[in-house]
Symmetry: D3
Subunit: 162 residues, 6 copies
């Protein structure tokens, strides 16, 4: 008798997706039967790209990937996880301040829905300093983001800043 398929959800604002996010997605795909990337609407953070654009960027970057979905969400993360039958929330960790906040979130999410487990992964060293804000900051000052984000994202950033 087999267990149910194990589905993981990887939430974020992804404004825009970086190579660090894609690294975590690839690592997760090896460990679970399906990966659902959940893109938070997050109007309070006042994102540079619409949730539709952000979902689109990830879909383009992940062309041809199997067992992989991208969806926008605007409810509680644990409710979104349940909708997609996910039993695992994936988080990438870079720094101590990340960890503290994510630990708090993980405990809160467990409090809301006990059966969903939060798992933390280590991104590739080469992306350990990377964040969407840094990518935007560099693009804003006409720096080169070619090694930090997929090509189509880099192009959109350029267009957007004109």
């Amino acid at each position: 008798m087999k267990k149910n398929p194990r589905i993981a959800i990887y939430p974020g604002t992804f404004d825009p997706v970086t190579n660090g996010h894609l690294d975590i997605m690839k690592r997760s795909l090896k460990l679970f039967d399906r990966l659902v990337v959940a893109v938070a609407l997050n109007p309070k953070k006042n994102p540079m790209f619409s949730v539709g654009e952000r979902v689109g960027f990830i879909k383009s970057a992940a062309k041809g990937w199997k067992n992989f979905e991208v969806h926008p969400f605007d409810n509680l993360l644990v409710d979104c996880a349940v909708e997609h039958q996910a039993t695992v929330i994936i988080k990438g960790l870079r720094a101590v301040s990340d960890f503290e906040f994510e630990l708090q979130m993980g405990l809160m999410n467990r409090n809301l829905k006990e059966e969903i487990e939060t798992l933390f992964m280590i991104p590739s060293l080469e992306y350990s300093f990377l964040s969407s804000s840094f990518v935007k900051e560099i693009a804003r000052h006409r720096g080169n983001v070619a090694k930090l984000a997929p090509k189509h994202v880099a192009n959109e950033l350029k267009k957007n800043l004109k």
Copy 2:
């Protein structure tokens, strides 16, 4: 000869008060002769509830408590402490990033008024992940905050979000 009564002040924005805050208040009441809860106006943080509402929420939750007062304040915390004859500032600590910031605040407050001591307390484990922002976030997405905040606060959150 007795020492003067020992009065502690517990400052915060309390937007809104959570069960974690109330836990720290109860613990403090056992250790000091009087506890003054000081509710910061904090217009820059753009609070969801007015300072009057926030004071009211705490008063309702603390009905019948002795040696206990709640006041709004809009001056320097150390000046507010002096007004109320408090010699101790109480802070609840959850995480490392809390601690770092609070240590800085504590040193700054000592620099401003040497005779006032800052004391850090550990909240109950069950509230170690809890913050006002999380409570609002959950309420905003129609999650259940019954175990996280007093009943009247939960009700106001529901009304407010309609």
Copy 3:
């Protein structure tokens, strides 16, 4: 076509196993097809119990658990993982200093064997302060460890300290 069974390894000294360790084991069993607990010989840490005793304590506590194995090991953790076909290393995280050290270990292990992923899990809140050293320290001073470790471990600790 199915992926290979996903096997996770959970390494430690387990001197002795605590309820916190058992909590992480139970959580891991839900997420993977098999869990291998790997008990480090660790003579440098000068453990209170022999590696045989430590393996035995875990086996007794896990009686009847399925897809679960316990083995001693004295080679590199990544080599031990390969031996058991594990592709995931599980670590329980409590505090920031844990996290920093474990992040370093995780990066080192990735450097040694790229295809093995380290995943961090959050233990139950009620065990977030628990460690084998604390359990031994309490037992040494005749404190009560009944809620902190399995009964047979508590008994052995008592015997051992006479």
Copy 4:
């Protein structure tokens, strides 16, 4: 009707007592009716001075202080607190790694004896880098510890290292 006298306990190895420890003691004396300094036997740490010498150093430094006692202890800290009717454990905090460990200890102690509260205090800035190990390290290399520890401790360190 008055509350019972509030008694605080300040535990440590004090091998030897530093000006940083004395600073925390003086700050505590202002806040509580009595302060009990509890000197841990701690044979595992292999202290430089016997517990008797360590108690003696503190007594000499605190000559004339009121509502102040020093005792050796070798049981669980919470049991020692109960013996002395203390309801508060005092800890001085310097750094984040201190804080993490002390938070764990505080939660463990609350688990063992719920009614005893741990309070953290900030030492004077000028002692924020100070520890017994640093004082011993400096003395060992014939550095000047005159500003770091009481005079009689500095003298004993010199004698001891000949």
Copy 5:
């Protein structure tokens, strides 16, 4: 044959400059042949003073200092460093959360321009709690900032808040 002059750049928003910033500047001047203070435009942070005022405050405070320049900048920090032939970025560190963020920035800047090194310095203990925001907060509530910022800055803060 001599090496080229070693030029360091010390970037910040300096809204306004504090005695802590000036302490780092003086320490840096002893170690490098020239120090360039770079004042970020930073419109997103919504500064209290214009970049021209902020540059002016530093120039007044540094009257008579040699090998010292102050400039506004609005490009990438590493590009600004190259413009001024700086090979070193100076950062003052107070707390762990500072450190984490600055480590991330340092790695990002190295990624953008490999030959520029980030160096972290420890400010004087007496300024270890100090930040521009605290100074503004205190001034806003009519507290005394005389020991925290240069006199002319203190005066401008007073004027500005009327």
Copy 6:
């Protein structure tokens, strides 16, 4: 008129030197007129290699480097710095727990000798997980340390463990 030559000291146990240490040395050489590597005797840490061997490993790795010296030391670091006319102590930083400890050391050293400045550098990302203990641990279990330490060190580790 030129300033005096700027001499930096880089202290450590170097048991044995790793590629991470060598990375910091090369980065420091670009910034200062001379670099003195100071190898601590450190008998309490019970090192695997004698101080003579540890000095020799660094000398072999640094063959042909200019403005570079290696010396053993067994006095206070600040006294050793003065002996070599160094005005700067260099420290490589990897993690938060490193940082906390090093901050404490830096403040202590400033307290002992005010005119000596401690500077923190970021090692190459590829060495951010590396430490002498990890190298020894891996060698002990017959893992491959070729990318982690110089060749002659790797060979000595192998010999030593037979």
